[in-house]
Amino acid sequence: MRIGVITFPGSLDDVDAARAVRLAGAEPVALWHAEHDLKDVDAIVLPGGFSYGDYLRAGAIAARAPMVQDVVDRARKGMPVLGICNGFQVLCEAGLLPGALTRNSHLHFRNRDQRLRIERADTAWTSDYATGQEIVVPVKNGEGRYVASPAELERLEGEGRVAVRYVGGNPNGSLRDVAGVTGEDGRVVGLMPHPEHAVEDLTGPSTDGLGFFTSILEAVVSA
């Protein structure tokens, strides 16, 4: 099982994402945004950070990187893709996921351990959780406020596209407490919190985040 982790100029959490992949039992494969070689990976993680310094809009320039265009094509054919934080912003900017991430309502960078509720335990990246299960993982962002038009939000809620929701306090003013969403087929997931920072007792507030990376093993094996 090979899971690619794409590094952009300004990525910060690619090493932690690769580590989480390894701890889950898969082989992490380092990918470089400017190339077209996806190195035969079975799934892809877009990590957190500040690609291109968040210039223009967070994730906007990275979303036009050569490799991201390849990822969009492969995702539309069913390849599982997980976007974490900046990776979520990239997936929204690339049009793979609906909505957009904007400046936090309180204008502060927020860094804390965050309680989340898994709303969809049937996606490729969340199948090791139970629907309604609550987990605690770090959240750290300045532009994490999920927004979409009221009509779009209604549609997404109706289709069950909210995969993860903030509970016990909303860290950034995200509409309807949305922490993460899924694509229509449940194979592309994006979320602002950082499951890759909660995979070991030594360094995380929990090991609750590991489930994202173990879920994908089963999704790829059974595909």
């Binding site: 609906p98 957009a100 904007t102 400046r103 204008l107």
Partner: protein, 79 residues
């Protein structure tokens, strides 16, 4: 060299906490005549030759602005 100006603002239904912070500062400074602030982006593009409006509109609508949350205005005047 011709210049094309592109203005990008958040759609009315998207809240603008930065604009609200500016409005708060204006209130503290006593500028009570200002009752609302929306912050946006202003791009000035230097264009070689005769500007291709269709291409420039595509640039504005697909890269300079995110149509999910932003409205965009293209100003070709003065070209």
């Amino acid at each position: 060299m011709p210049q094309v100006v592109v203005d990008v603002v958040l759609k009315p239904e998207i809240s603008d906490p930065q604009g609200q912070a500016v409005l708060g500062a204006l209130g503290r400074l006593g500028h009570t005549q200002v009752t609302g602030v929306r912050q946006g982006k202003h791009f000035v593009l230097d264009v070689e030759g005769t500007p291709d409006e269709a291409e420039l509109r595509q640039i504005a609508e697909t890269l300079l602005a995110n149509p999910v949350i932003e409205d965009v205005e293209l100003h070709l005047s003065g070209v």
